[in-house]
Symmetry: C2
Subunit: 108 residues, 2 copies
């Protein structure tokens, strides 16, 4: 039976994927709302290019953050928890060692 | 007195700058409206990144198009006329040779 943060059971993988999707949908929904609010206030080109810069940064960030490789799960989760898109409780079901590691990384 | 499309009188330069600004403000206003309409329909990340791609393309286009160097005026005007941001009549006051050249370039 896997005890470490390297080995993942099928159940853990399913839980991890589900938690990832949850965080992803929350972050995307918040971003879409945010963009809609920002766009309302735009009247000129400088503000439009500010929105463009903002989208470039968010796209880069989101593309990099949702890394579905098993080896990256713990780092990805700790970041999502730091940013408020996921709670530690939503990882209940992972091996306690993994949960502890995520919690420690999220405090860094 | 300048007769060619290379020499520009002060009056011609003023008229060109004013025409440029007019086209610029029209295009920017239309773009801002366009983005506001597009954003209303966005519900997910794919659509948001489509908007980002669209803004990247428009930014590149607009940054290149409004070239305020005298030597580029005629080319820039012909493009703005092609795209509907300026009318040939709004260049009344330029030397007829210049107007003819812009008209010919706009038909290309």
């Amino acid at each position: 039976m896997p005890q470490t943060d390297i080995d993942w059971t099928t159940a853990e993988k399913d839980l991890a994927q589900a938690a990832f999707k949850k965080a992803y949908h929350r972050e995307v929904a918040a971003l879409v709302d945010d963009v809609k609010t920002k766009v309302e206030a735009i009247s000129g080109l400088d503000e439009l290019w500010q929105l463009h810069d903002y989208l470039s940064a968010r796209r880069h960030d989101i593309d990099g953050k949702y890394d579905y490789r098993d080896s990256m799960f713990l780092f990805a989760f700790s970041q999502l928890i730091k940013e408020g898109w996921l709670s530690l409780e939503e990882l209940d079901g992972l091996h306690p060692n993994k949960q502890k590691k995520v919690a420690a990384l999220a405090r860094m």
